[in-house]
Amino acid sequence: MDESGAPAIQVDPSELHTHGHIEHSKKVFELNKVSVYYGDSKAVSDVSLDIYHRNITALIGPSGCGKSTLLRSLNRMNDLIPGARVEGEVFYHESNLYDRKVNPVQVRKLIGMVFQKPNPFPKSIYENVAFGPKSLGMKDDMDDIVEQALRDAALWDEVKDRLHTNAYGMSGGQQQRLCIARAIATQPEVILMDEPCSALDPVSTGKIEDLMLELKRNYSIVIVTHNMQQAARVSDMTALLMVELDSDEHNRWGEVIEYDDTNKIFTNPRDPRTDQYVSGRIG
């Protein structure tokens, strides 16, 4: 739309500056009337919101409200689902991710993702981390990349003596941190997390939450969670999605009903439904 004629869209890093963490000066994503369809049925309707640089943005809502679907539209993972279709515009910095010229593979290199269930590859810990950088053709010293990524994911001390053992021998929480290490090894700008703690015990969940707050210094994080306390603990901004029904209750889809500072969402929301949801009365 905007960058008419430019084959490759570039972002000058010197434009990026952060002073304080909650200062919403810099946008990473700008969603403009985004709707996602699976076949003929609409899953998410008409979402417009901005996601800010080096913030943790939480998407919360009852199950089936389309929060994961919305998250997956941010790095074009929905492309992999047959019949899935996105309408509207998702601007990543200045470029629309759904522009015809955009290569989804490139998008995913810049916007990493961590899934609900830890999904390490059935290979060694080292190979799990090195896979991404190798696919990108990074020429730097692989050992350094792996070590740095594992350190950043707060996993290095636990695994440095068994880097070449199979990742399936790790605990669930370690596997999930390995998946985070794997995602940051490719040096993305954004990390999308789809209910990253839902399969984990409270101790592992705490570790991942600490890790997210740590990673926030260098990455923008968007997290989907069904756990409101988690959203309140870690996120700067929160969007609440709700299920809407049409008049004859045949079709149902998700809509963002409120998006604001997390503090405001949890203490002084505008929409009465938000108040009811965060206080546990509906949803």
Binding site: K109, G112, F131, L136
Partner: protein, 314 residues
């Protein structure tokens, strides 16, 4: 009808209670004779059927061993066949021929079978009619009688468009086409067993589809694919009917080559001996069967071992 403890029981209620008792005895206690007989006899009949099938297998193995045992010697493997001296005749050219043919089969079925399986599992959009056609077609080919592949080999490969002549390479191509559906179906299953989360994980790291396939999906499904390839090869080793039609039946006394000259294969040589009226030749055929069964058993055990040892559990 409301009755309470105090009212004396009428004849009808007594009868009803007795009836109910009898009913529950029949339910919880002894069953009727017919049902008892059924619960013993029925599984016994089922087991008998299974035993019959396994007896058939066992008697075939024992029979071939008893008949062939006297001829299990080095001559069997290393001597050329003979129509005159059954006591020393062997299978040498046939064994070599089978080795050549199977080598050719492997070279053909691994890339073609795995390639087709990858396409159907990972690339093909099932909404498209041509992809559904390919799928249907592969299932159908799996059921075409092997002798029809012999006709294809004769009319299309030995003669006709390819015109390769009666050589081992023709046999390789014919048998490869015959077992290709087996390989494709097995490889598809192995590829499908890799959970989608692995693909998503890889793609989310910015890997391309082919990088995801070649570095994650294929390595994880290799044991399953190999098992399918081994099963296909063991079928190709035992297949005689199509080879009859494409020249393997000639009596070859010399070591064959792949691209020229006559050739034969182990099962065809066995057939050749089997149809001779003399008992000695038939015993020689039985000895050949032992060799073939030993090879097949070895391969099958290897496949089972491979599956148990390397199969990834998700």
């Amino acid at each position: 009808m409301v009755t309470n403890e105090k009212t004396p029981r009428t004849g009808r209620t007594r009868l009803a209670v007795a009836g109910a008792r009898a009913g529950s005895v029949s339910v919880f206690g002894k069953s009727s004779p017919g049902e008892r007989a059924g619960s013993v006899l029925f599984p016994a009949v089922l087991l008998l059927a299974l035993t019959l099938a396994l007896t058939g297998l066992a008697s075939l193995l024992v029979w071939s061993f008893v008949k062939g045992y006297p001829r299990l010697d080095a001559n069997l493997i290393f001597n050329a066949p003979s129509t005159l001296f059954p006591a020393t005749a062997g299978f040498r050219p046939a064994i070599l021929g089978t080795l050549y043919i199977i080598a050719g089969v492997i070279v053909l079925i691994v890339p073609l079978g795995v390639g087709a399986a990858i396409y159907l599992e990972e690339y093909a959009n099932r909404e498209r009619w041509y992809n559904r056609l390919i799928e249907l077609n592969i299932q159908n080919l799996a059921g075409v009688p092997s002798i029809v592949f012999g006709i294809l080999g004769l009319a299309f490969i030995v003669r006709g468009p390819l015109d390769l002549g009666f050589i081992a390479a023709s046999a390789s191509i014919t048998l490869a086409l015959l077992v290709l559906p087996t390989v494709i179906l097995a490889a598809r299953e192995a590829i499908r067993a890799v959970p989608p989360s692995i693909r998503e994980g890889s793609l989310a790291l910015g890997a391309t589809q082919w990088q995801t396939l070649s570095r994650q999906v294929l390595p994880a499904s290799t044991p399953g694919i190999l098992t399918g390839v081994i099963l296909a090869i063991s079928r190709a080793i035992g297949e005689a009917a199509p080879l009859l039609m494409i020249g393997a039946v000639t009596f070859v006394m010399f070591d064959p080559s792949f691209f020229s000259g006559g050739y034969t294969a182990l099962p065809v040589q066995i057939y050749n001996y089997a149809v001779r009226p003399q008992e000695e030749f038939r015993n020689l055929a039985a000895a050949g069967i032992i060799v073939m069964l030993a090879v097949l058993l070895l391969m099958n055990s290897f496949a089972v071992w491979l599956r148990n040892r390397y199969e990834q559990r998700w």
